[in-house]
Amino acid sequence: MKNTGTLQVTMPTDNEIVLTRVFDAPRQMVYDAFSKPELLKRWFGPHGWSLAVCEVDHRVGGGFRFVLEGPNGQRMGMRGVYREVEPPKRSVHVESYDDYPGESIVTSVLTEEMGRTTLNATITYPSREIRDMVAKSGMEHGAAESYDKLADMLAAEQKVTA
């Protein structure tokens, strides 16, 4: 299959964002990596960040608490509650960030084909502001780029007038 390692970001409806990623590993393994704290600690977070706090109670009604720590000691906290748990196929949780308002619902579906696993994570945003913002400027590349261009152009313009 194709596209192993490529993160795809799409917006099928007004208030959803879908992340799709293919992993070269069986489904159970990917599911474990998403639900076991000792494994989550080894990958969750961008380059230079690590999970200083990682508590997971992976069952319906159970929750998780993550605190990511950055290279300069910055901290980013998030928490969530599991609503549906169907290992190794599917899970649904509600999550929120300490520093951003609002909760989003994350539905993760794993499908396995020929030893490779496709993750489909649908994030449903509750707030119209955030949804519209994301839909407009997009996490899709083209749209994000045009936004960057606008920002660049504006920054250049400000320099000229300053």
Binding site: A25, A33, G45, P46, M133, Y147, A151, A155
Partner: protein, 123 residues
Amino acid sequence: MEIAGQLDLTFAALADPTRRAILARLASGEASVTELARPFAMSQPAISKHLKVLEEAGLISSGREAQRRPRRLIAEPLANASAWIEDFRRFWDESFQRLDGLLEEMKAQEKTQAGPKKKGRSR
């Protein structure tokens, strides 16, 4: 927290198509309220309301020239909003790359553990 609050204001201001159109217009240069109202089938007070939201979000400022008071765009909050989205993408892209490495390790380990034994789950 201050950045998060600013982002909320930015997002809320950008949620409206008229306001986005106004920003797009201002991206090509400053304009007075009358000039901004022209392309929209909207009264000047209605446009002024939108301008107030944009101003409160720190996305535009108004000039001092008594009559015209031209509005102009402020780039920084938009750049921050755009950075937030890029951060989101980078967050998952980089995390998943690390996960790739972990999965390779797990596969290798499973192979060694399975070793000469029969295939199948041990636990």
